[in-house]
């Protein structure tokens, strides 16, 4: 078991539904909560990350702001996905972990269904393998 940021596992963000070039999707996996990716438009918003090879994922942790509900899907979009519910926070990040029970993943898709405000930001995603 190791706890590592996506970057050290060679994981990349391969899709994001918004892009402000000052706050690009790469910021999600740079291991730094000071940098972030932000939505720039309406919900839903989503991003997809890709592992360099099939990887057994124990859990995934999302540090974000303003999100309410995020659906995480492994690989195919056919299965319903697991729902993460985010509590509202003031002046500090939301920290939420989803257990994936060692499922094998190449892609993880995060769909942020709604927000506590018009915009949502994602500061760091970490995986436990």
């Amino acid at each position: 078991m190791s706890d590592s940021s996506f970057n050290s596992l060679g994981v990349k963000v391969v899709f994001a539904s918004s892009c402000d070039e000052n706050h690009p999707p790469e910021n999600i996996m740079d291991g730094n909560t000071k940098t972030f990716w932000t939505s720039t438009g309406m919900f839903p918003q989503e991003f997809v990350i890709r592992f360099p090879e099939p990887t057994r994922v124990a859990a995934v942790t999302v540090e974000s702001y303003n999100g309410t509900k995020t659906v995480v899907t492994i690989n195919s979009t056919h299965c319903p996905g697991s729902v993460m519910k985010f509590e509202r926070t003031e002046r500090h990040l939301q920290l939420n972990t989803l257990s994936l029970n060692g499922s094998s993943a190449v892609h993880l898709r995060f769909v942020i269904a709604s927000g506590h405000d018009h915009f949502v930001s994602v500061h760091r995603v970490t995986v436990k393998t």
């Binding site: 972030f36 932000t38 309406m42 702001y65 303003n66 018009h118």
Partner: protein, 200 residues
């Protein structure tokens, strides 16, 4: 050509959905306004074509004194009561609103509160900003709503007030530019908050 060039040195930053919502009876001029803004002032339809569903128009707006462009998605919705409900499903959680009434039809102004209520329901407690537009200012002899009254109500709702004439193509860009600016400032407020967050 010119448009493309303008966008070259502007970065495309944001996208939003923006809804001209209609008040009261149909035919206040929502579609006329949206089309004039969209086409850059090339066509005014004298004949009335009722909007039956939702028409989606997209236009990029450069924010003055910045290098940023806001991508506006305009959802031109049907005003006719029996069709409006179906349109609402398309709204999602709108960030902004453009409420249009007919200056020569007081009832259409009165009905604006009802439309605002509907928008609020969709926004699920989020702050709603945007514009109130009094259209058909060319028909000054038939005016039923005074600018001061409309302005006061708009302010009480957190909306900016504009008067337009789609027919004379007067002031038609102003409400849309104002919405783009409102969106831009919401976004900057958000960035400010996010930069000052502490860890979870």
């Amino acid at each position: 050509m010119r448009k493309l060039q303008m966008q070259k040195d502007h970065k495309l930053l944001f996208s939003t959905v923006f809804i001209p919502v209609h008040a009261g009876d149909a035919a206040v001029g929502k579609s006329s306004l949206s089309h004039i803004f969209y086409s850059g002032g090339s066509l005014f339809q004298k004949n009335y074509n009722m909007t039956a569903g939702v028409e989606l128009l997209m236009k990029c707006v450069n924010i003055p004194e910045t290098n940023d462009t806001v991508e506006l998605y305009i959802l031109d919705s049907a005003g006719k009561e029996t069709l409006a409900e179906g349109c609402e499903k398309m709204w999602g959680e709108p960030s902004l609103v453009c409420l249009v009434f007919d200056l020569t039809n007081e009832q259409s102004f009165v009905n604006c509160s009802g439309w605002m209520e509907r928008v609020r329901t969709h926004c699920q407690g989020l702050r709603v900003s945007g514009v109130l537009v009094g259209n058909k200012s060319d028909l000054s002899a038939r005016r039923e709503v005074q600018a001061s009254v409309a302005k006061e109500w708009a302010q009480s709702q957190g909306l900016e007030y504009h008067e337009t004439s789609a027919k004379e193509m007067e002031n038609c860009d102003a409400p849309f530019l104002s919405v783009a600016r409102a969106f831009y400032s919401l976004y900057n407020e958000h960035l400010e908050t996010v930069r000052n967050l502490s860890p979870g």
